[in-house]
């Protein structure tokens, strides 16, 4: 497979198709991170695409001092944090209602269990949303995206020790927020 670095330099030399390839490579990651940051599918899709728009414009100045994904994930997380900052007075913890609607066609599982699962999932989503911005970012990148503390440190421009501390705080906070649901709902 062609490396990110090769695609970046191809794009910098005028190959537009190389940029499309970068998009296809990272679009789902960008969307997933954005979704967990803002908890709304339309907003997450917009933010993921906006991140690529900025990458498109920023790549001509990208000198490859860091990995492409490090640079790009920073754009994604910055956009999401700023999006939340702008909307913080509008809806502190707003969850997308269409994501928690009850499943209409449950074939194998009992409807009651599905309802309980949906409620539980909403509680989990709310707990993650309650984390302060930086802890939430670190937690999402570490737990859901599986990045190392060092990689996250590079993305956020922080020390590895600081990132670890953020992550431990996030886990402990989530544990206390979810304590009531440890044995199901």
């Amino acid at each position: 497979m062609v490396s990110d670095e090769t695609l970046v330099s191809q794009f910098q030399n005028g190959n537009e198709q190389a940029f499309n390839e970068l998009v296809n490579r990272y679009r789902e990651k960008a969307y997933q991170i954005a979704y967990r940051m803002v908890r709304n599918q339309d907003d997450a899709l917009d933010l993921a695409q906006d991140a690529f728009v900025r990458a498109y414009k920023g790549l001509r100045n990208f000198k490859g001092n860091s990995k492409f994904y490090t640079w790009f994930y920073r754009i994604v997380t910055n956009l999401c944090i700023n999006f939340k900052t702008r909307n913080r007075f509008k809806d502190a913890v707003s969850l997308d209602n269409e994501d928690v609607h009850l499943p209409l066609e449950s074939k194998t599982r009992s409807p009651l269990k599905d309802v309980i699962n949906q409620e539980l999932k909403q509680k989990i989503a709310e707990a993650i949303a309650q984390l302060p911005a930086q802890q939430r970012t670190v937690f999402i990148l570490r737990y859901y995206e599986g990045l190392t503390h060092q990689e996250i440190a590079n993305i956020l421009g922080k020390s590895e020790g600081g990132i670890k501390a953020n992550y431990f705080h996030a886990v402990k906070k989530l544990q206390s927020l979810l304590a009531a649901y440890q044995h199901g709902l």
Binding site: Y35, R36, F52, V53, K57, L79, G157, K158, V171, Q182
Partner: protein, 212 residues
Amino acid sequence: MNHISTDDLIEFIEETLTAERMRVVEEHIKTCAQCQNALAGLKRTFDLLALDEVPELSPVQLGNFVPHIRQKVNTEPVWKAWLPRVIPSVGLVMVFLLVFTVIIRQYPHSLPEPVNIATIPDSIWESYLIDSDVFAGIVLDTETLPNVLTTETWVDTTETDELLDNVIDPTFVQSIDEIEFFDDPFATFNSYFDDLTEPEIKLILQQLNQHG
């Protein structure tokens, strides 16, 4: 014997401790009910968190992904918005470049001195300020303006809230203690400066520059 800290238990679950430490924790847990409980509690928390799902993108959404980005890129042709602003400043930029080249050639191993932002003519500023639907903010081209802001003067990514809250407070720069290196000033500064007016952006950069 000391119990195992929650931090170590988390790293034990994720298997990120050193081999030596992994063994110590493992040994301790075998015989300590309290730490067994703590470990079990953490594992249940992780199990719960694993239930969190992201709604999948539909084939249509995936198919539209690149076209939508292309559309957003094309609705705001940057060079068109820039052109009238850039042309009058090209001469000044070239003067800057010439001066820098001389400085850099004389002192090949030293960083260029920061320029006081207050002394930069408006015409140069304007070529780097962008205001559009796609993004509002500032693009600092570090190739052509290498020492307007040195790399030491970028503020940490995660200070966004404070930065936005304190834009108008002339003392806020002194309160920021984390001035760190950024290799993507483009993205970062655009993020910071969304929704700010040009005078506010200039104020921030001037203060950062003095601080740096």
